[in-house]
């Protein structure tokens, strides 16, 4: 009754961080509303994984069936729809991840309950659900209210809540799976691992990240030259990989790599969330961008508002000079 539910996301025998983040969010909401948090775990022979989250939610609902060995949005949707219809939670949280993007909108639509996606925060104020989202290339946030309903569905952005220890004693409830085979219209085949790369950007102490602001492929030579002067490797944001100027293994961000170098220099990178999530834990971040409103400046320690091609030559000289001293 008016409980908070969340879906555990796991892949390749590991609970994904977003699950812990959602449970942090879910526990806080449950405490405020004097209710309970239920974690829903769909999987197969995964006692170890269930054990590892035992202290994170008041109740863990386990649906154990071979069909849930790998994520399949359609199988998940069938099982979750049954559970939500039966339990009628006030709010269900799903991760706004590659899995959640496939699942959340279709599930909400099937159930006819109000939903929204990619939320940074969810609050319940006077019984009303309010979500915070980001819009317009991360330049604005929005408070969103929902059509009144006894049950809501929201997908949460990764990295918005901390992973926290908890000491709840979870009650484990096993539930019969409503299905035992993947639907014939969607089958999981296999994972395709990222190709092994010759340059490992996650190992570098200095990373020079480039974005759309470098304008054309030919300018990469200048960046490579700067990077070698400063002793770093060149990485990039998504548009550079989309344009095939650099290989996928140089991409920093949610669908690429997460880097934590001592120094990250962002050149002409606007700072889309998908990029920032992959570099925000760098030791020191320097951003050069001609748009003073670029969201990258919300993450940087030092910022230069200028054309990167005006600054780079003198920056290189200053580094050479510094090293010679």
């Amino acid at each position: 009754m008016s409980e908070i539910f969340m879906l555990i996301e796991h892949r390749q025998d590991a609970i994904r961080d977003i699950s812990y983040e959602m449970m942090t969010c879910g526990r806080a909401l449950a405490e405020k509303l004097n209710t309970k948090l239920t974690a829903v775990f769909l999987g197969y022979d995964a006692d170890k994984l269930v054990e590892s989250i035992r202290d994170q939610a008041h109740r863990i609902m386990v649906v154990n069936n071979e069909v849930f060995k790998e994520f399949n949005a359609e199988s998940y949707q069938i099982a979750l729809a049954e559970i939500i219809k039966k339990e009628n939670p006030l709010l269900t949280l799903i991760g706004h991840t590659a899995f959640g993007m496939d699942l959340c909108p279709a599930l909400g639509t099937q159930l006819g309950i109000p939903f929204t996606t990619d939320c940074l925060d969810v609050e319940i104020i006077d019984g009303k659900l309010i979500a915070t989202r980001q819009m317009y290339d991360g330049k604005l946030n929005a408070k969103i209210r929902f059509r009144k309903n006894p049950s809501y569905l929201v997908s949460l952005r990764t990295g918005c809540f901390p992973v926290r220890d908890s000491n709840i004693e979870s009650e484990i409830v096993n539930i019969e799976s409503p299905i035992s085979a993947e639907p014939d219209y969607r089958k999981f085949v296999e994972y395709i691992e990222a190709a092994i790369s010759d340059v490992d950007i996650t190992k570098a102490d200095v990373v020079v990240g480039v974005g759309r602001g470098i304008k054309k492929k030919e300018n990469l030579a200048l960046i490579e030259d700067f990077a070698s002067t400063i002793g770093g490797v060149v990485a990039c944001s998504r548009p550079i990989v989309d344009a095939e100027w650099l290989p996928k293994d140089r991409q920093v961000g949610s669908s690429g790599k997460t880097v934590k170098p001592k120094l990250y220099i962002a050149l002409g990178i606007s700072g889309a969330f998908q990029h920032v999530v992959g570099m925000k834990n760098s030791g020191t971040i320097i951003a050069i961008n001609k748009d003073q409103n670029a969201p990258i400046f919300n993450e940087a320690d030092y910022g230069i508002v200028d054309d990167l091609f005006r600054v780079l030559p003198t920056f290189k000289n200053s580094i050479i000079e510094m090293k010679s001293k």
Partner: protein, 257 residues
């Protein structure tokens, strides 16, 4: 292969100053430029590639005001055969859910094998139209495609997961797919094609064709605001030479290289 591509015209805000309008619920749009949503360009290109391989037709559809007809004409110039504009001006406030309901109301009467949409619109960034629309139409879907191959009635698709990982899944068609950027290299429209597209009719669908009674909003924007700053950046000002010296000084002082 009959393909429908859903297209959105969006303000280009990546490098522009975005200001909140007096209602507090929308942005000031008159100084912004507009273009086809980035991932929709890739969705359109993927449709053209499939059509080149299998034959068939492409319908480009957009829920938008009349100024988006230019965007639809670009789609026509790049390879769409026909274009439909659902008149946004007829349907008041919109959210992702209502948008999907309107698209569904039009698409349910059209024959198609595949629907493509972009995986995210850069303005409201919901990433929800595709999966919602598929559910309303009662067809399977997959989001974030980085590859698609159709063999007989089965589509073999790669979806982008996190950290460079992808998954390969099989989905029977008819189905809906949302397309990730980088899946292909979108073509430019030729001048001849642009000229030809200028004369083509864009079919209009409005409140005379779609009943407003059943349409539901899931969400409404209460207010827009500037995001709180995660970290206080120190902006260094001066000539390129001056800022470079200062940066080098910081790097040395902190022992960063």
């Amino acid at each position: 292969m009959d393909i429908i591509v859903c297209i959105k015209r969006v303000p280009q805000t990546a490098e522009a100053k975005v200001e909140i309008e007096s209602s507090g619920k929308d942005i000031v749009k008159d100084r912004l430029t507009f273009d086809m949503n980035e991932s929709d360009m890739y969705a359109l290109e993927e449709a053209v590639l499939l059509k080149e391989k299998f034959g068939g037709t492409i319908i480009a559809i957009s829920l938008s005001c009349s100024d988006a007809e230019d965007t639809l004409r670009i789609a026509l110039a790049k390879g769409a055969d026909t274009a439909i504009r659902i008149k946004a001006e007829d349907f008041d406030e919109l959210d992702g859910y209502k948008t999907a309901q309107l698209l569904s109301a039009v698409i349910k009467d059209i024959h198609f094998d595949v629907i493509f949409t972009g995986c995210i619109a850069t303005d409201d960034a919901y990433s929800q139209i595709g999966a919602t629309l598929a559910e309303l139409l009662g067809i399977p879907h997959a989001t974030l495609l980085t590859n698609i191959e159709v063999i007989d009635s089965i589509s073999h698709v790669h979806r982008e997961l996190e950290g460079g990982l992808q998954e390969h899944i099989e989905i029977s068609i008819p189905a809906l797919f949302t397309i990730q950027t980088g899946i292909n290299v979108p073509r430019y429209a030729s001048l001849i094609a642009i000229r030809r597209a200028a004369g083509k009719e864009i079919k209009l669908v409005g409140q005379n064709e779609i009943s407003k009674d059943q349409l539901l909003l899931n969400t409404q924007i209460e207010e827009l605001f500037i995001p709180p700053v995660a970290k206080q950046v120190k902006i260094i000002t001066g000539s390129p030479g001056e800022v470079s010296k200062e940066l080098a000084g910081i790097i040395r002082e902190k022992g960063l290289i």
